[in-house]
Assembly symmetry: none
Homo-oligomer: 206 residues x 2
DNA sequence: ACTGAATAAGTGGTCAGACCACTATGGAGT
DNA sequence: ACTCCATAGTGGTCTGACCACTTATTCAGT
């Protein structure tokens, strides 16, 4: 019944580090105190401090450089998403589920890209699809990598990359040859329903 | 443990643990080997094993009980999410990305659900939204949880759950009151473009 | 034979200290 | 002014110890 509020040390360390970041107005790239200094300041052992820092590192919140120090990550890398995914995707998800999510992400990204696409982009996409010395899977990857970059949404791209990496081991990634050309056209005409239709055709073609 | 390839020990440990879970077909609630046993098996120190376990714990992948052991979790534990979110959501850009992906997933799930919806489902959804003694966020969760279950796609649901758990700590999840009613109607009429339109209105309303 | 309390064994939680590997720095020698 | 390298500072890892908590075992009292 005793509600012992025994918080683990590494957890308090995490909170303290967050407070430190806030209080010192640290931004990406700034250096954190050394492990030994943190340990002394927070009255914790270096092991406990490291447990907290390693967790943060794995989540992509910080970046450690051997011999240099610990730094706030320069960009939001969504490392935690990858780690989570590697555990979630280990389960018995069917090929069907993976393929569906992959297609949905590609479709939505394309529709998002409508709002950002400029003239040069269409040319670039066409060039990608006409690169001679690359396989269909490589073209597909390059094509949508470009699309996802256009969306300015790193998170959705990250999720897609993970899904794709799992899909790739099962079967091919790519759609029909004419599909990509049609997508570029629809993108150019900012025709969202057309994109919806194009992907839907691929969905039922499987 | 071998330090070849500059791979940090705690990271190898993490991969090994994932392999162990995979190989032994562990499911939620199952017990992992003790820290000492893992250290011995993986030729790593207990400190390194703990660094890996703490990171997994922070992500809600495992649950440790003092004196008992370490157990595989169903990663529904929202315990550390708030702390995690306080780190991850520091940048406005990140919040935007999360909100967009959340909306896209909900939209696509709803459209997928069209193909599975039966008469009883609409009634059930209406009931959820008319439950008196529950907040708007709870209604929203229950509503879409039901939608996602209809899609028979566990993967997309899990992705959504993770996204939502982070979003929730920051601001409200839900849309306008009339929105849900309109969605049910569109679902009933299998009107995919209407669903598209409804969500799009919410997107620009932010 | 049964019950219950004391004990032991196993587990996570934490700490201190040691050593290694790597990086940046600054001073000695040119 | 330049180069070189010893050195200090940093993260990376390991060992061993002790504490706190939970469960299993033992054993005394009935």
């Amino acid at each position: 019944m005793s509600t012992t509020n025994h918080q683990k040390v590494y957890y308090s360390v995490l909170e303290e580090i967050r407070n430190y970041i806030d209080h010192h107005r640290l931004v990406s790239g700034d250096k954190l105190p050394s492990e030994r200094e943190l340990a002394e300041t927070l009255y914790a052992s270096r092991s406990s401090v490291r447990e907290a820092l390693r967790a943060m590192e794995l989540l992509g919140l910080i970046q450690t450089r051997h011999g240099e120090g610990t730094f706030l990550s320069n960009y939001q890398s969504y490392e935690s998403v990858e780690l989570l995914a590697s555990f979630i995707l280990r389960e018995k998800h069917t090929r069907q589920e993976l393929a569906t999510v992959k297609l949905l992400l590609e479709k939505e990204a394309t529709k998002l890209a409508i709002h950002f696409a400029e003239n040069g982009d269409f040319m670039k996409l066409k060039t990608i699809m006409h690169t001679a010395n690359s396989g269909e899977n490589e073209k597909h990857m390059a094509f949508f990598q470009y699309i996802f970059d256009m969306t300015n949404n790193l998170l959705i791209k990250k999720i897609w990359l993970i899904i794709v990496s799992f899909t790739q081991t099962l079967h091919d990634l790519y759609y029909e040859q004419t599909f990509y050309k049609d997508v570029i056209t629809a993108l150019q005409e900012k025709d969202s329903p057309k994109i919806e239709q194009l992907f839907f055709e691929q969905l039922i073609n499987r």
